[in-house]
Symmetry: C2
Subunit: 204 residues, 2 copies
Amino acid sequence: MGRRNEHTREELREISLQAAEQLVIAHGLMGLSARKVAAGIGYTVGSLYMVFRNFDDLIIQMNERTLDALYEKLAAAVTNPPSPTAAIEALAQTYLAFALSETNRWLALYEHRMPEGQAAPDSFAEKVARMFELVQQHLASLCPHRSFEEISLAARALWSGIHGVCVLSLDRKLESIGGRTMQQVANSLLDNYLAGFVAQGVSR
Amino acid sequence: MGRRNEHTREELREISLQAAEQLVIAHGLMGLSARKVAAGIGYTVGSLYMVFRNFDDLIIQMNERTLDALYEKLAAAVTNPPSPTAAIEALAQTYLAFALSETNRWLALYEHRMPEGQAAPDSFAEKVARMFELVQQHLASLCPHRSFEEISLAARALWSGIHGVCVLSLDRKLESIGGRTMQQVANSLLDNYLAGFVAQGVSR
DNA sequence: ACCTGAACACCGTTCAAGT
DNA sequence: ACCTGAACACCGTTCAAGT
């Protein structure tokens, strides 16, 4: 057997990642397996290893696409913002909306963990950093007199906070009862933090 | 074979959960398997199903123990607090310290997901709610004139925020660079949020 | 009633063998 | 060079069979 050559390596990679995405969208990261991806594209499991180093590599590459899609939406949401505050609120709102509409793909971003010793590739870390800088940038516009240190700390705190709201809201297991929407909680976090941040110096 | 009767059902459950805990502490949730737990206690895999409905049930019960341990530390940290603000800061600090020292057990709490349709048992949700109420209680002391609605929203926002700081700090994959400690980021979140919350009305 | 051992249906990964 | 098919070492889960 062999030598079908219907697809180039790049095409094989492309349809594999598309198939993986569909499986995750439909059944979450737990519903994803190398064998199912292979079946979905009409190849044998073994052929995936021509294109991906291993299963984690496939997941990481799929997740990088999700990060790209998320970044596009975030960047689009803050082109020509009316004010720095509006920009930061738009970033938070867009992040929440993405987590809500693309839930399974978004969940897969942090459900997946690297094996014990290994770390995610630099390309992955860079895509995360790129999103983080978006927050930092508009926070710097809001408080031009603050030092880089202060801005980066605040950006990290806000970003972590909004992320935490998503995590706890979408994980039904950890979700504490009470009919709050993600948006309400996120707005509370954002507004009160920014009020404190603008009014007083950044803490200790 | 069979009828060894060395342990009662309750003892079997106990040593299984202890073995599971050890495996998670050593190698994370990914290093846990029913077969390894069985090997660790000197039984066959099948016998675990006398005590646990399935593998998820074992994990949930192990995680409930972690929640208990966490709750003990949180509750102990806020007996006779000098002030409501100090109490809230102590809760955050204790939560961070637990995540840092018991990292793999803490990570297992939210790395584990229920299968597609199922939800975690009520006992699990109750333990989460109990921790949440601790925050709510001391936030109410801080702002006695605020409505229950406002307090619960603020508690949820703060709790989510602190949780987000932990998540992003401990997940090496999503961690954005910058030499901030978890404590610094959490303090920024807490202090600025509380400053905003005390100063102005709770947002929109 | 308790526990085993084997079976079943799944995994990720490798690799000799075919074209 | 590409791809398969089978093998390997693992999974969670079930259950007839033994004591």
